[in-house]
Symmetry: C2
């Protein structure tokens, strides 16, 4: 690795001039700029990032912390984040904390350590104390996306989970369903609580509040399968429709139904959430709720850039969802 000194001597100027040629080219004469450019190519120079960060007191790096990188839901959000970040000259470090507080802690340290300028938190499933402690150790530009903490005191980009749930239930009721069950995500997840409020308000409005079953999974396909079996037995008292808080769980429920000899949607209708890529390719194709994932990522990153640069920002942003009707829902059979 060559240094700025070698470039300077190859270009016959000072290190200050090399630095300026790179950072503020208009402050350097045409001729010098060209000599510097040639020298850089000649010696194969890449500025030392550590030295630069130390001096500039910024890293031009942000961390995006995910609960679980294997969840396909996040990939398009990451794309949205990276689009905006790269355009603004920022690098995105993706942290996968896997519900492991120790891993999460390592990522929270990045900001006080000046290794990152801001954080995008895509999960509320981190120890709050860890977060608060890190925030106490210094400036901590932070934006939550998708999820949020109950107190909602942090800048957040979410979808309207309440309304999305209402829409799903209204749709099922309009089809004729009266026994509608819900398979939620983790019990303490605030977005799941929002959706449940939507479900229960809507069912109540339709006079269907009694006996609506609710079970909780973890958003993953396996929990959908397991809880699907539980929701659908005994068969004679099963719901005619199940609203699932993720597409993966919906796919698990469909497998459970198939295994119990039930056909979807004839015997039971299934709605998912997220509109993951595969939801269009499973059998039957999944009716689901689409979140504007790229936009969520973009909006969150823009908000974070605003925070980093101390600009005024809109701290609570809510984006709309869209119900996508495919083949996994239909009218209930008269029984």
């Amino acid at each position: 690795m060559s240094t700025i000194k070698e470039v300077a001597s190859a270009a016959g100027c000072s290190t200050a001039t090399v630095s300026r040629a790179l950072a503020t080219p208009d402050k350097v004469s045409e001729a010098t700029r060209a000599r510097v450019a040639r020298a850089i190519a000649e010696v194969g120079y890449t500025p030392n990032g550590a030295a630069r960060s130390l001096r500039r007191r910024e890293s031009r790096t942000i961390v995006a912390l995910l609960p679980d990188i294997s969840n396909p839901f996040f990939s398009e959000i990451i794309n949205g984040i990276e689009d905006v970040a790269h355009q603004a000259g920022y690098r995105v470090l993706i942290g996968d904390c896997e519900r492991d507080p120790q891993r999460a802690g390592a990522y929270f340290d990045l900001l006080p350590a000046n290794q990152a300028d801001g954080m995008l938190l895509l999960t509320a499933d981190v120890p709050r104390a860890l977060l608060d402690d890190a925030r106490r150790r210094g400036r901590f530009p932070l934006v939550m996306a998708c999820e949020f903490f109950d107190d909602r005191d942090l800048p957040t980009v979410t979808v309207d989970n309440y309304r999305a749930a209402c829409q799903a239930i209204d749709y099922l009721v309009a089809l004729g369903h009266r026994r509608i069950a819900t398979l939620t995500g983790p019990v303490h997840n605030p977005i799941c609580r929002e959706r449940e409020r939507g479900v229960s308000d809507t069912l109540t409005a339709h006079g269907l509040a009694g006996g609506a079953q609710t079970l909780a999974g973890d958003f993953g396909v396996h929990s959908g399968y397991v809880q699907g079996l539980a929701l659908l037995t005994p068969l004679h008292s099963r719901p005619t429709a199940i609203f699932c808080h993720s597409d993966e769980m919906a796919i698990g429920v469909i497998k459970a139904a198939r295994q119990l000899g039930l056909e979807v949607p004839r015997d039971v209708s299934i709605i998912g959430f997220d509109n993951i890529r595969l939801s269009e390719y499973c059998d039957p194709e999944l009716t689901t709720i689409s979140q504007p994932r790229a936009q969520i990522g973009q909006a969150a990153m823009r908000l974070l850039l605003g925070l980093i640069h101390d600009e005024p920002v809109e701290r609570q942003q809510v984006l709309e969802t869209r119900l996508i009707v495919r083949q996994s829902t239909g009218q209930p059979e008269p029984r």
Copy 2:
């Protein structure tokens, strides 16, 4: 953010002693260590990573470069990488280059910029010139995992793609299939070429070389659907089995078959590759080839650590795959 100076004055010692208390505690007296620990907690100190990297000439960070973060195949590999990395005190920066040379370039610069100590390259789909140029600019510990470049001159951890393909074809032939088609990944991908060699050698060994159709997709579900339609029409001359280079493509092919009124496996058998989580939950459950993903990640990271620390390493590591027979394959119907 407080600095080491503030800690030193709070602890009544020099910055050198604080530094040693952190890095080499046994070189500091018990009592001093305790005072330093208290001072650190008091002022809320996190060492400045940029200063530390600059001084130590290492970042304890490695980059893992992926072709596409939305491919669920990679998540367990990343887990394997992170397990080993974190245990060794390294941080993992996940780079998603999306087949975009510019993005890839930004990640390659990380090593010459001293922002990363090594790179794990999980794709060969990057401009070779970009890589070679970055490697010329300084020390560049690099290991490839899963994929590789044709010349195989880089340290690599892969599975035995040739043998896996042979196994898949042997299995289909044993079931009675004679017209076996292949849906490969991208045309210039060396692992796909290896698999094709396995297919063609095995078919030849069974006297079935003639007329075996091969089409290429991009590993994604949509390309599986599109190419599945192409492989399966006209119906009368369709293959009785299709070997797909990814589970996602296999799922796409199954949808194509369904749409053409074909039942899997009765009318056509499908084998996937990768054993992604959802392969067990689609209908029918997918027969597939499982790669030891966590082990690939772990082995690659261990190899990289060896390279970083200039230890002797085994530069070419090949792990075994396993054929997992589920429901998407069966005997062909006599026609």
